[in-house]
């Protein structure tokens, strides 16, 4: 499958690299076509990846992964352009972290509590199918859940379009996620819940000095 990965940070690199490993064609998008991190990503993948502007990457992708910084995601997707996004699935992995108030970051007030980044993206691009998932853990685990607890921990998923969620679940299965560990929380308003995991995630990370952990919902 042709997949756009928007964002050149650790998350974009982890997602893009895993997708290539699984045989997908990846185009990494950034603000400028000559982004250095994107170039390094392309170089290490030996002809199996390409780099482009947000717009060219989005146009290329049959599905779009949003791996940009949460506070900049809506702007990045606007640069990608509505016509390049129209009707496509956006897998939204970003978190609306606010680094302006010191460490650990809090959540951007305008995109949290009674709202969320996932909802804002869906509202900005009504014809897109936004699926929020994977944003509650370190990127190493997103693409390789078996790294801890034999892969037995929880990944949340939410979005308004049932078929889009099914398609994303199939990709998550390719990453190694078992269906019994995928917890569908309903429509995209549930992103208010999954994005609010970040404050506790950051506190656990600080307390344990280990980012390779996740939450398992047990009952």
């Amino acid at each position: 499958m042709k997949i756009a990965v928007l964002g050149t940070g650790m998350v974009g690199d982890a997602i893009g690299s895993r997708l290539i490993e699984l045989g997908h064609e990846v185009r990494m998008g950034s603000r400028t076509a000559d982004n250095e991190k994107a170039a390094a990503f392309v170089a290490k993948h030996n002809g199996k990846a390409s780099a482009a502007t947000f717009a060219d990457a989005a146009a290329f992708g049959e599905i779009i992964f949003n791996c940009t910084a949460g506070g900049a995601s809506v702007e990045a997707l606007k640069l990608a352009g509505e016509s390049n996004i129209d009707g496509k699935i956006i897998v939204d992995i970003a978190n609306p972290l606010d680094f302006s108030k010191g460490a650990p970051p809090s959540l951007l007030p305008s995109l949290s509590n009674t709202h969320s980044l996932g909802e804002e993206i869906q509202k900005t691009f009504p014809s897109a199918k936004v699926v929020k998932t994977l944003n509650t853990m370190w990127c190493g685990l997103m693409v390789n859940p078996a790294m801890i607890n034999s892969g037995d921990h929880t990944n949340f998923i939410c979005g308004n379009d049932a078929e889009a969620k099914q398609n994303v679940k199939a990709l998550l299965n390719e990453f190694g996620w078992k269906n019994e560990n995928l917890l569908d929380l309903g429509d995209i308003t549930s992103a208010r819940g999954t994005e609010a995991v970040l404050p506790i995630w950051l506190r656990i990370w600080t307390a344990t000095q280990n980012g390779a952990f996740n939450f398992k919902v047990v009952s």
Copy 2:
């Protein structure tokens, strides 16, 4: 031990009943000494519990459980009176839920994200030792963790006073919590993280229609 349980709701009833079962003396506090729910609590415990105003209950308790509604907790503790709280441990189980914006509730903006109820209580009563714990789960599990997954799931704890946290851990052990399932997140500012669990908790509860679940941190 003589223990004050402030609040007459489901949480206060669950905590108070379990403490009595474990042999402690419990005085349930509420706004008025003749609160009907408190009277029912006293009646069902057959002389092993008493009911009183917030102030009389706090004066009675060597340790104080805050089981009031989060939005009213600071006021309830003010009614309890600084002199009755001075130097004591406050086990804060409350969550600053905001029911004014529809269901599911969000968090009160003034007590979340860059602040928390736990911190606000600590700031209002600097000589008290506020320990935030148990607030991330259904009250049935707070006092009987073995009800699910053989008790193997996570309870967070935070607070500024190490000795107070040790004393609270000993009470949690009485409830059935094993030390390996108690995750100390550090000082009371970590209540920003644990109180922010509520949004995802409420979404999972809605999606699964089952409140008897908890999070287990796996790594």
